[in-house]
Amino acid sequence: MLALSLKNLTKTYKNGVQALKGIDLEVEEGDFFALLGPNGAGKTTAIGIVTSLVNKSVGQVEVFGHDADTALEAAKSCIGLVPQEINFNQFESVETIVVNQAGFYGVPRKLARERAERYLKQLQLWDKRRAVARSLSGGMKRRLMIARALMHEPRMLILDEPTAGVDIEIRRSMWEFLRDINDRGTTIILTTHYLEEAENLCRHVAIIDHGRIIERDRMSNVIRKLQTEIFVFNLRSAVATAPVLPGYAVKLTDDRTFEIEVDREQNLNDIFAQLSAQGMEVLSMRNKVNRLEDFFMKLVEGSAAASATAAPTAATEPGRSGRCPVNH
């Protein structure tokens, strides 16, 4: 089943900014999904439309098969939101905030108190349950918003940049926690501008930039694409078939041009040696433009400014199988 389906989602703000330019997106139930993009890409706008905090201009939203236009209450019941910015009443106590939120979703008070104990303990906030929210540290406030979003045990948890501005220790323990929630069946969508975060947590990723989805794939494929380069070779004379180069993926595009996909670590001498051996004369060679690359350069620059942790990591196999400890 699809946890989330967006069709042609478009948003133009009153000031004329076109934040979303027709987004199509599908997220499977049970997935751990990253919406990855630099600041201003449209992530929060998209999440806002899904959670009724922003009015859409055009398009369709379905949550677990409930159309948000015709079955809004059912659609909303399935979602728990951890927003990008703090939005609880700073003058209420931690426990009041989570228990009331459960009530807004119809969880009876007694059950809500039991859950409050469970989730506040899991998020190391139980000692603070009587504290006024204003007095919490930044990391605690974020965790409070996670606890609050879980109180009605939503089928889908949406987190908008949950670890922005949170120190590395807390970030890791949040990751652990989210994995655990996901393992128990909750679909998770998170937005981030840290590639590292998406890589460590998520199975699928959509990359959003300037209000458009520019890539939607398994995380591992995206990482692979980032680690390879495609070179375009032009030959002096026409050939009938692509050269045979063991260990390389070769594609003939016309009778004088072919493309080779090369791992960034591999050297190119080998290729030239083999081409010479096969009597092919290379006239010129160029890099094929990689649209992901531009994007990631921007992403890396952006988050280098923010925290210097976002460089693509080379060796970790991401996704479920690759839940190895973070190595940087």
């Binding site: 703000y13 009153k14 049970g30 959670t51 009724s52 905090l53 922003v54 009015n55 809004l72 209450e73 059912a74 909303k76 019941s77 979602i79 939101l81 927003p83 910015e85 703090i86 939005n87 609880f88 009443n89 700073q90 003058f91 209420e92 009041t96 009331n100 939120q101 009530g103 807004f104 979703y105 119809g106 969880v107 009876p108 008070r109 609050r148 089928r155 128990r184 069946g185």
Partner: protein
């Protein structure tokens, strides 16, 4: 994947629990900041009773055939109900907008009309609490007869509903704190003072009396006073028609505005 089987969504139950939660939260707010919500009207009422009731009232003698203190007591109670029901919703809802915790309700499955009713009931609750406190203060100074208990209760609840809705709509449009004090200061307070709280409009010159009948608060104060004294400057039926009409129109407007997300959702 081990998703526990989910019971089908029970909208009725969700709404019931949700409504109760809004009310609990509003009540919690009134009590948490009782120094701003319950105490000031008690102090103000005491001053009014001392000055207008005991000091000046003794010289005035009778108003509309009643001891002046008895005459103004219902008016003063109603005045505090009006100010406090309005004030409760306008500051609670504007505060929720300002600090963004209104989003807690907006992401929840509760429909707009229920959110409006929740806030309005919060305002009515504050009106009733304050009304009870001011009544208690009044009983220190005078004796209140009860002519029609049902009229007392229904008119105070209807009036509190109307002004809670007014506060709600004000909060929806307000962009800053100035804009939540503008209406109460420049419109609501004058209308209340000129709404027959302190005097019977029959004492006014003809033109002023006529003008007073255009003031909806006059009808509310008089209906309420009728419940105590059995006498009124206006027909009680008309007073109820006006209160009901205001409540219905303002409720429709409030729900429509919230549905559209005016002032909240881009």
């Amino acid at each position: 994947m081990t998703t526990a089987p989910r019971p089908p969504l029970d909208l009725g139950a969700t709404r019931r629990v949700g409504f109760r939660t809004i009310l609990i939260r509003e009540f919690g707010r009134i009590m948490r900041i009782w120094g701003q919500t319950v105490l000031p009207p008690a102090v103000t009422a005491t001053l009014y009773f001392i000055i207008f009731g005991s000091l000046i009232g003794r010289r005035i003698g009778e108003m509309g055939g009643f001891d002046y203190m008895q005459y103004i007591a219902p008016g003063l109670i109603m005045m505090s109900v009006i100010t406090n029901s309005y004030g409760n919703v306008v500051s609670s809802f504007f505060g929720a907008k300002f600090s963004k915790h209104i989003e807690e309700l907006m992401v929840s499955p509760l429909p707009s009309w229920l959110i409006v009713i929740g806030y309005i009931c919060g305002g009515v609750l504050r009106g009733l609490i304050v009304g009870a406190v001011v009544t208690a203060v009044a009983l220190f100074f005078t004796r209140l007869s009860v002519h029609h208990v049902l009229i007392i209760l229904s008119s105070v609840i209807l009036t509190a509903t109307v002004f809670s809705l007014g506060g709600f709509i004000n909060a929806i449009y307000a962009r800053n704190f100035d804009q939540i004090s503008w209406f109460p200061t420049y419109i609501l307070a004058p209308l209340t003072y000129l709404g027959g709280v302190f005097y019977s409009v029959s004492l006014l010159p003809a033109w002023a009396e006529k003008l007073s009948y255009a003031n909806p608060i006059l009808y509310m104060v008089n209906a309420f006073r009728y419940g105590f004294l059995g006498s009124s400057d206006v027909p009680i039926g008309v007073a109820y028609a006006i209160m009901l009409a205001f409540a219905a129109v303002l409720f429709t407007v409030a729900v429509m505005l919230l549905n559209r997300g005016v002032g909240i959702r881009e």
